[in-house]
């Protein structure tokens, strides 16, 4: 392919296929998809995908020159160079979970790591600071430990506190970057039992150098909860919850988000606060923005059967159905539409769709209580709005998604995307901001630690069994199985 006709070649099916071959991860995703889509879509899945992408690329190009309806805008990430970001203080936050294996994987402890660095600083002692916030899950009284996502609410809470702590402790912080979404789909975490005051004290133990600050934060939440949140969230039991000092996990998280924003707004310039997601499975951008606009455009031209004709079906009438049937995700489609160094337009990500009424069991009670988490959709009271965009870092990796708070200004997404791209360029094989990789390694709970915990737990269980402290026959049987399913270990030998 010559350079002269490179642009045209990019707009042909061959060009699309060649691009796919250069992007092994996209190819692998498509291969996976080809196995899970309906049988009549499998045969020509690659060919039709190539045709669709070719048409889409053409359409985006035409829209850019005003010859067609706008689809999505893709722009180059300009000005991404290290000279421009010298002297900036950046903090990266990531949480790690330590799991032990007894009969299955059991999360046992969690730690959030922070890595703060000032670019251009030559003095190592001044340049970098590391912090970590450990939480042993067994110490917590609240949360629904039987739920698989119990670990997630603990991690998200700890990460938010880590971020807030970094922001408060660093007056000149330019960027606070989280590993993962800036905000998860919060509706998924509704229904967990509230945390107790002891739990919150555990969370806050590493939060502030001065214990008074931690106490102030806790009391501020309880005051806001008493006045504004709990009466709507838990009508009828709100007073009880305040008296018992119970912290609804979602309300507590929403409060922490508000604290982050409020602290950021006090600064000038406003620090950038962002989350960066790798290997995302989101399809919202494709459904609500990209394909929605395509369908509108097709309908305008009475070509609404374009996809049905292309794939030989009759049911591909909405973006949602199309994505269901063809298993495309944002990452797959954007990888095929963007080139390295480009970013997609941003959109408001709907993180709150699952927030509705439901039930929870308050700590210390047996029966369920009705709750209404939909009140946390209010961006002033509950969770703030999140804006996101996709960035293509290199041919070898999936696009990453950058998320920022919409309320912190228009510049946030542009500046966050620029830095996320710049930081990712240092590890193109991973295609992810290197600072988050550092925080990830730092936060990782080492295997020796979890192994040691595992051995201790097994040892204590074995001793209990030996001493006959566990009487229940069925329980004894299960424990023996759980312990000795793994390799025999010298720690299990009877004490001399």
């Amino acid at each position: 392919m010559s350079e002269n006709n490179g642009q045209d070649y990019h707009l042909t099916e061959e060009g699309v296929r060649e691009d796919l071959q250069r992007q092994p991860y996209v190819l692998m995703r498509l291969v996976e998809n080809a196995f899970i889509v309906a049988e009549n879509l499998r045969g020509n899945y690659f060919e039709n995908t190539s045709k669709f992408i070719k048409d889409l690329r053409k359409k985006i190009l035409l829209a850019k020159s005003g010859e067609s309806d706008p689809i999505i805008s893709i722009s180059n990430i300009n000005g991404a160079n290290w000279q421009e970001v010298q002297g900036e203080v950046v903090t990266f936050i990531d949480g790690g979970v330590g799991q032990v294996e007894i009969s299955g994987q059991i999360p046992i402890l969690l730690r959030v790591g922070s890595y703060a660095v000032r670019t251009g600083e030559r003095n190592l002692a001044e340049r970098e600071q590391f912090g970590y916030y450990p939480v042993i899950l067994g110490d917590l009284e609240g949360g629904s430990k039987e739920r698989k996502d119990f670990i997630d609410i603990v991690r998200i809470t700890a990460e938010l506190l880590g971020g807030l702590s970094a922001l408060k402790r660093t007056p000149n912080l330019r960027l606070l970057m989280f590993h993962g979404p800036l905000m998860y789909l919060m509706g998924n975490y509704a229904g967990h039992s509230p945390f107790t005051e002891n739990d919150i004290d555990l969370f806050l133990r590493s939060y502030a150098a001065n214990p008074q600050l931690a106490s102030d934060l806790k009391n501020k939440f309880l005051e806001e909860a008493r006045i504004q949140i709990y009466p709507k969230l838990a009508p009828g039991v709100d007073t009880d919850m305040i008296q018992k000092k119970l912290f609804d996990p979602l309300a507590w998280m929403a409060f922490l988000y508000q604290q982050l924003i409020s602290e950021a707004k006090k600064r000038s310039p406003v620090p950038i606060i962002a989350g960066v997601v790798e290997r995302g499975r989101l399809r919202e951008f494709s459904e609500d923005v990209l394909l929605e606009r395509i369908f509108v455009s097709l309908r305008k031209k009475n070509n609404q059967n374009y996809f049905n004709n292309l794939f030989g079906r009759t049911d591909l009438k909405t973006p949602g159905i199309l994505l269901d049937r063809l298993a495309y995700t944002d990452a797959i489609l954007m990888a095929m539409l963007m080139k390295p160094g480009q970013r997609s337009e941003s959109w408001i990500i709907n993180k709150l769709k699952g927030l509705r009424t439901g039930q929870t069991i308050l700590t210390g009670e047996a029966r369920a209580t009705n709750m209404d988490w939909s009140i946390l959709k209010d961006p002033l009271l509950g969770f703030p709005k999140i804006k996101g965009c996709y960035i293509s870092v290199s041919d070898r990796t999936e696009p990453i998604r950058v998320e920022v708070f919409e309320c912190l200004g228009e510049q946030q997404i542009e500046e966050a995307a620029k830095r996320a791209y710049l930081y990712s360029l240092l590890i193109p094989g991973y295609g992810f901001p290197v600072g988050l990789d550092v925080a990830d390694k730092f936060a990782k709970v080492p295997t020796w630690l979890t192994n040691a915990y595992s051995k201790l737990i097994k040892h204590h269980l074995s001793v209990s069994l030996q001493k006959g402290e566990i009487k229940d026959a069925e329980m004894r049987h299960l424990l023996v199985q759980a312990i000795y399913m793994t390799h025999r270990d010298w720690l299990f030998r009877p004490n001399p």
């Binding site: 290290w82 660095v117 251009g120 600083e121 190592l124 970098e128 240092l426 991973y430 600072g435 390694k441």
Partner: protein, 602 residues
């Protein structure tokens, strides 16, 4: 979980002496140490206090100090991806300008266990084998100089009379390293290094130390490296320098014929047949009786019309072979021409030893003439070598006829071999070494002796290409193998160890190894010297001038040292080439000025 009883906790260490903590898997041979930045260096010797039972059954735990050497230090920043390094290089970006983490480094030292001793040092520096690994999380520390000196010297501490003070620890200059002189003189030593690494200085330091103890030393010095020994104040009167003359008549005629060949004047097969007669005749012609010898000199001078023969006399050298050839040629010519009293001359020569002179005809005359020409040329070449040799030796003393005079109590005999080609050097060495060794075997020589071979690869090459080399290898191997029994030691000094004979080198029980860049030499040394560890071998190209690894019986364990300066200097101490040029030019200019002054006056 195993508990550490309070009384078992290690003594609180001084902060400045603490170097690290044992991590990971430890064995009785090696362990790993997590260390703080730059607290230790490779080849440092450190200690760990441990509670271990002795090997005896039912013994109780006792405080033991375990000694170890830092073999390798690994430094890694686990938060700095390799890929990022490539990107920085590609974009010419300083890592400090990015968000990369540069501060979190892990430094781990891999340590080799040397042995253990009672914590109070009561074993006198003797280290026992360790049969049980030290406890993980033990603290390692830098021992004080006194303790360190004690274990480096080992049992030698109690035998100071044989301790030679030759070095200091490379990483701890305050710690003196003494080596076992007994091991050196009785079980042979090899000093191996590339040119300029300091091997001759090392050898001289050892010689000086041995001389202080009056040990007889015979040095074979091909380059004048040891001439400076005589200038050392405390060695005054102890050093005897000799120039070497090639002992022609101690060789077989065949060998001497080859010498003539080697010097570039090839004898034809016909000549070789006759050479034997000529050589034998010359050998017989020279006699010790002064009066009779004078008579023969007169006879020869008259026959050959060479007044110089009568004037300077004859010696047992190549010239005499040439004179005899010329005499033979002349008598055969006279006989052919029936000139003068050829019969009397022929009979005289027959009487003096040339029995077959009467069998030669006119045709043989040309052969004898060819021998004469070649032998004279070879004699001239040999003379040139001898002259150079004398000059370098800075001595008027020829080698004593009785070689055993080289070995005297408190004497260093330096035999200059400078100026001679390899074969001559090897031959001279072989003759002397043979005489000394045989005398020791026959018990005719009572004193022990150590022979020092500078440029040993010329005397004991791995592969002999000439007869001279074959013989020098044979005697060296014999001394290496049996010398200990008869009190003959060897010190082999070489800059090309890979060219040395493997057996001879492996018979050395002590080694001083210095900077070595040539990979062939490194590999050879690694293969032959069992006591040299893999990590030590890897250090060889990076050693400084004067730095050395001591290994083998001369030391308690292999150790990196800096050799102390010798008091003497060698002939070859290198002068800056450009300084030498300027000095030479100044000399020429002064000479020119002087000449001009003289011509004006005249």
């Amino acid at each position: 979980m195993p508990q550490i009883a309070t009384e078992e906790l290690p003594e609180k260490l001084e902060k400045q002496s603490f170097v690290g903590t044992l991590v990971g898997e430890s064995t009785s041979r090696t362990f790993r140490l997590a260390v703080a930045h730059e607290t230790i260096r490779e080849q440092d010797i450190i200690a760990v206090d441990v509670d271990l039972k002795s090997t005896e059954q039912n013994s109780i735990k006792q405080k033991t100090r375990l000694w170890a050497k830092v073999q390798q230090i690994e430094r890694i920043n686990p938060l700095f991806p390799v890929e990022a390094g490539h990107e920085l290089a590609e974009t010419r970006t300083s890592p400090f300008d990015t968000v990369l983490s540069l501060s979190r480094e892990m430094v781990t030292a891999v340590c080799q266990v040397l042995g253990s001793e009672p914590i109070d040092g009561s074993a006198g520096g003797r280290l026992d084998h360790v049969r049980y690994p030290p406890q993980p999380a033990s603290q390692a520390y830098m021992p004080n100089s006194t303790d360190l000196e004690r274990v480096v010297i080992g049992e030698l501490g109690t035998k100071q009379s044989r301790a030679l003070d030759i070095a200091t620890l490379s990483n701890r200059p305050s710690v003196t390293v003494k080596v076992d002189g007994h091991a050196i003189v009785s079980r042979h030593l090899a000093i191996l290094a590339m040119t300029g690494a300091g091997k001759s200085v090392t050898a001289r330091r050892i010689v000086e130390q041995l001389a202080e103890r009056n040990y007889p030393i015979v040095i074979f010095d091909p380059h004048g490296d040891y001439t400076g020994l005589a200038d050392v104040e405390k060695l005054k009167g102890k050093v005897q320098r000799y120039y070497a003359e090639f002992p022609v008549f101690e060789e077989e005629s065949e060998t001497v014929a080859k010498v003539v060949d080697t010097l570039g004047y090839e004898l034809t097969p016909t000549m070789q047949g006759v050479f034997d007669d000529v050589f034998y005749a010359a050998k017989q012609f020279f006699i010790e009786d002064g009066g009779e010898r004078k008579r023969r000199e007169q006879w020869l001078a008259l026959l050959l019309r060479r007044d110089t023969i009568e004037q300077y006399g004859i010696k047992q050298d190549m010239w005499l072979v040439g004179y005899l050839a010329e005499a033979g040629e002349r008598i055969v010519q006279m006989k052919a021409d029936n000139e003068g009293d050829w019969q009397q001359l022929e009979t005289q020569l027959q009487e003096w030893g040339w029995a077959r002179i009467d069998t030669y005809s006119r045709t043989d005359k040309r052969t004898i003439e060819g021998i004469k020409k070649r032998v004279f040329k070879a004699a001239a070449a040999l003379k040139r070598m001898e002259t150079t040799n004398k000059k370098v030796a800075r001595s008027a003393n020829p080698l004593p006829i009785n070689r055993l005079e080289l070995v005297k109590y408190g004497q260093i005999s330096v035999i200059s071999l400078a100026g001679y080609t390899g074969n001559f050097q090897a031959t001279i060495y072989t003759i002397i070494a043979n005489s000394i060794f045989e005398a020791k075997v026959r018990d005719e020589l009572k004193l022990p002796v150590v022979l020092l071979l500078e440029e040993a690869h010329n005397f004991v090459p791995g592969k002999a290409l000439t007869t001279a080399e074959e013989r020098s290898i044979a005697i060296t191997k014999q001394i290496a193998q049996e010398g200990r029994k008869f009190g003959v030691g060897l010190i082999m000094v070489s800059q090309r160890p890979s060219r040395l004979d493997e057996t001879a080198l492996s018979m050395c029980n002590s080694y001083i190894i210095m900077r070595m860049i040539n990979p062939a030499d490194q590999n050879f040394v690694r293969r032959v010297i069992e006591s040299l560890g893999e990590d030590e071998a890897k250090m060889l190209p990076d050693l400084d001038v004067g730095e050395a690894i001591l290994s083998g019986q001369l030391i308690n364990f292999p150790v990196l040292v800096r050799i102390k300066k010798s008091e003497s200097q060698g002939e070859r101490e290198e002068e800056d080439a450009f300084v030498a040029l300027e000095n030479a030019q100044k000399g020429l200019e002064m000479e020119q000025t002087k000449q001009n002054g003289n011509s004006r006056r005249s």
